[in-house]
Symmetry: C2
Subunit: 185 residues, 2 copies
């Protein structure tokens, strides 16, 4: 069984080593983690921009096709919500009817983050609403995770944010995924 | 033919009137626009939070199921990228193999927005990379639009941002969708 390891982890300065740690956690739990590293694309640096990004896009979609589930890092990234590429990817798994597991290293609610964000960078027009519901992100995100994976998003239970590159919530989420794969297999 | 009208438009203070204008543009072009307005959910205000958000989630997914294509407002929203719920939705249409059309009222590249954002709100750890490629958002987004709709994202050709609630780019995108639906039908 293969899990697509979605997330902004690919943007970390130590992305390759970080991915190796995630893959090791998956292996210990009995399944194969597939990190969508751009470092795995040969000759990327010699390509023109348009060829390069479309090559990465096709490589990532092909990797999703080959995976049974997704484990998504939904920690907020440069804004109020999870990384944008990761969100397209969990939508894809939801659309395909494949299980979606997700976690965030942020303990704050979406509404709390929206308020903090608006204090630093005002909204483009006044009066834009903010979703309540006490959820960790826009309702489509915990909704997709709950519908397609059967569990709420994994977030810090003690109300304390974890460091951006912490793997504690990832491991808790990977354990849920392993239980699911154990039942499915 | 029905088009799901995804976007942060639902958060506008005049969301119902704004949706009506979008639906009128679609009707003029010969197809039906379906805006996922929460105002259409009866008794939402009397529900507990968990029932309310799950009701909205199920209503939106059912509306997506009933639509043939999506026209997504991918204008950046409270961060470097498009609205998070909208991104899950375009991923869903991509996963289902249904056409995806998308536009943005922002003329800036993703890399330009990332740099401006980092000046106001520093990254959580140093050294996180920024995608280049001259694209309007994370490559998964123009990638999904190009693969599933056959066109690049519609953005201001003159390099000038449009107001957040402008419908000029929406109309240009709806014309592309109408041509596609004309060929398909």
């Amino acid at each position: 069984m293969k899990a697509y390891l979605a997330g902004p982890d690919v943007f970390l300065p130590n992305a390759v080593e970080h991915a190796r740690r995630k893959v090791e956690i998956c292996a210990r739990l009995g399944f194969e983690g597939q990190p969508p590293l751009n470092e795995d694309v040969a000759a990327l640096s010699s390509m023109a921009e348009e060829e390069a990004w479309q090559t990465i896009y096709r490589k990532d979609v092909a990797m999703m096709e080959a995976c049974d589930i997704v484990i998504a890092n939904l920690t907020p990234f440069r804004g109020i919500s999870a990384d944008s590429g990761t969100l397209v990817e969990i939508g894809w798994f939801l659309g395909r009817g494949k299980p979606v597991f997700g976690y965030s290293n942020s303990a704050a609610s979406f509404a709390e983050r929206c308020r903090a964000y608006a204090a630093a960078l005002p909204d483009p027009i006044p009066g834009l609403s903010v979703e309540g519901f006490g959820l960790p992100d826009n309702l489509m995100i915990p909704g997709a995770v709950l519908q397609a994976g059967g569990h709420p998003m994994v977030v810090p239970a003690d109300g304390q944010d974890r460091p951006f590159d912490s793997l504690e919530m990832f491991e808790a989420c990977a354990i849920l995924a392993a239980r699911h794969l154990g039942k499915a297999g």
